[in-house]
Structures are given as structure tokens and as C-alpha cells.
């Protein structure tokens, strides 16, 4: 995702918001799917995320990844939605293992739970570590580009990524 015009974002530029909604919603829906199996509920969560983001648009600081910021909002919205909803009983298609792998329905449910734990752990990362993960691993920026975006030294990006991986490693290993 390209860098956003922070001034336009703070001003609530609707064209910019529309572009962001179109670009980022599919990823937020995937995050929401870790908390609920209901498709309508996922869309409701993501719609609330955008509403909150619009209301709090002035809080997005320079040097902070917008996706990381939205991810935190999405996590909180999904947790409150989960409190109000019975946990899913059906296994979603994206929870199914790769073809050929042997897995029982229990395994699928367990994997879904581990994925939920992973999302919780990512949400608990300090903003700088979460941004490093987002910019380097998901958006594929180089360390130098990530450092420019985060307005910090390259060494800080490397260290943040290292610490994030260390924290997430135990959960990632359980997903193998």
C-alpha cells in the first residue's frame, strides 16, 4: 500500500477514505474472520472499524503505519463483537488445511483458535514492532524504506522485527 497523505487523512478527505476502504477492507475482513465465522458479522466489524477510524482520524500520527493502526481498531471491534456473539461452530474454508494434509475437524478448530491467538499477540505488540512486521513482511519494503516510513534508524527496524518474531515464534510454531 502506498504512503498516505496524512493531512488529507486528518481532514477526512472522502476520496482518500474511499480508496483506503477499497484497498484495506479485504485484509481487515481476513483479520475479522479470525474472531467470527459469520460473514455478515465480519462486514459489520470492518464497517465499524472505518467509522471509528474516521472519528479518530486526527489520532493517526506521522511515522505510524495506517494498517497497524487499523489492525488495532479491528482487533478491539472484533473482540467486542465476539463477546456479543456465540463463537463460531462452523469451520470456514480458509481454515481448512492444504490438500493432502490429514486433519480432523478438531484439528481445524484448533488451528482456528491458534490463529485467533496469533492475532491477539500481534495486536499486543508495541506499535513500532507491529509496524516493522507490517512494512517489512507484509508490504515487502526494504529495511531502508521501512525506516524512512517509520521515521527511525534502520537498526531500529531490524531490532523491532527481531523482537516481534521472538514474541510470535511460539504461536507460529504451533501452526506448523
Amino acid at each position: 500500500m502506498s504512503e498516505i497523505d496524512l493531512r488529507a487523512f486528518h481532514a477526512g478527505d472522502h476520496e482518500l477514505f474511499e480508496r483506503l476502504v477499497e484497498e484495506i477492507s479485504p485484509r481487515l475482513l481476513a483479520v475479522a474472520s479470525r474472531y467470527t465465522g459469520d460473514r455478515d458479522a465480519m462486514h459489520d466489524i470492518v464497517q465499524n472499524v472505518w467509522l471509528r477510524a474516521y472519528e479518530r482520524r486526527g489520532q493517526l500520527a506521522s511515522g505510524v503505519s495506517i494498517y497497524g493502526w487499523l489492525f488495532s481498531i479491528c482487533h478491539r471491534e472484533a473482540l467486542s463483537a465476539r463477546r456479543a456473539e456465540t463463537m463460531r461452530s462452523e469451520v470456514q474454508p480458509h481454515d481448512l488445511p492444504a490438500p493432502g494434509a490429514l486433519a480432523t475437524p478438531d484439528d481445524c478448530v484448533k488451528r482456528a483458535e491458534i490463529r485467533g491467538e496469533l492475532m491477539d499477540a500481534v495486536a499486543d505488540l508495541p506499535p513500532r514492532e507491529r509496524d516493522a512486521v507490517e512494512l517489512r513482511l507484509v508490504q515487502g519494503l526494504s529495511t531502508k524504506q521501512a525506516a524512512q516510513r517509520m521515521e527511525c534508524a534502520e537498526g531500529t527496524v531490524k531490532a523491532a522485527l527481531h523482537h516481534a518474531r521472538q514474541k510470535l515464534q511460539p504461536i507460529l510454531r504451533r501452526l506448523r
Binding site: 485484509r27 470492518v46 467509522l51 518474531r165
Partner: protein
């Protein structure tokens, strides 16, 4: 390995080491490096996952944001019942006025002697009706 790396991956690999082939051989032989790569790929796959939006989702989100034309329309529709209720409240005020005037005339004609409980059930009923109609309006205000 299920498929060859694409040119972007080859360029990325070549850019971070003097001898990328050595790096690849090391990664293939080193358990820690393989675990590192595996964890990173897994984390990336989890965080970069996407789900398709339902049709009209972007428009629905945009319409719900404050200040959009659609949101303003919805807000004014929500306000409409109050606007419709205004003429009715004017009518009620007129009815209360008439009742009050009627009651005043009644008391005047009875010579001001018929206090409640002193033998004029019509006056008592009139006072009760006026109170029942007027009090809720006063409480509202």
C-alpha cells in the same frame, strides 16, 4: 521447492549478499535459518490474508461516514418525524387553551362558589380532565 523463484525474488536475494548462492546453501543446511524463513513466511501469510468484500460494501461504508451526502440525507430523514409532529403540538396547545378558557367560563358562571367536593361533580370532572391533559405537557417542558 514447488516452483522456481521469480525475477523479483532473485533480485532481492542478489541484493543482500555478495554470494547469494552461498547464502542459499547455508539456509538449506541450517535448521535455525530454515525455521526463521518458515516463521516469517507463516506470519506473512497470516497477516497478508484477504477475504473478498460483499457487493456494495465500499458504498455502504462511505454512506455511513459522517458528512457524506448519504449520511446527511439519513440524518435529515431521522429528523423528519419531529418536523411532522410540530403542527400536531400546535393543535394540542390550542385544545388546551380552549379547555382552559371553557373551564374559566364555567367557574365564572357558577359564581365561584362551587369548589371541588362542594356538590358540583361537573366542575370536579372538568378540573380533572384539564389537569390530565395539561400536566403531561408541562412535564415534557
Amino acid at each position: 521447492m514447488t516452483q522456481c523463484i521469480d525475477s523479483d525474488a532473485a533480485v532481492a536475494l542478489a541484493s543482500f549478499a555478495d554470494d547469494p548462492i552461498d547464502v542459499l546453501e547455508h539456509v538449506a543446511a541450517c535448521e535455525a535459518c530454515r525455521a526463521h524463513v518458515d516463521d516469517t513466511a507463516r506470519l506473512r501469510a497470516e497477516l497478508a490474508a484477504v477475504l473478498p468484500m460483499r457487493e456494495g460494501f465500499v458504498q455502504a461504508v462511505m454512506a455511513s461516514l459522517p458528512g457524506t451526502a448519504a449520511a446527511v440525507r439519513e440524518e435529515s430523514v431521522a429528523r423528519e418525524p419531529a418536523a411532522v409532529a410540530a403542527p400536531a403540538s400546535v393543535a394540542w396547545t390550542a385544545v388546551h387553551g380552549l379547555l382552559g378558557a371553557g373551564l374559566g367560563l364555567f367557574v365564572a358562571l357558577s359564581g365561584g362558589t362551587a369548589a371541588p367536593g362542594s356538590g358540583s361533580p361537573l366542575l370536579a370532572m372538568g378540573l380533572a380532565a384539564a389537569a390530565a391533559l395539561t400536566l403531561p405537557r408541562m412535564v415534557e417542558r
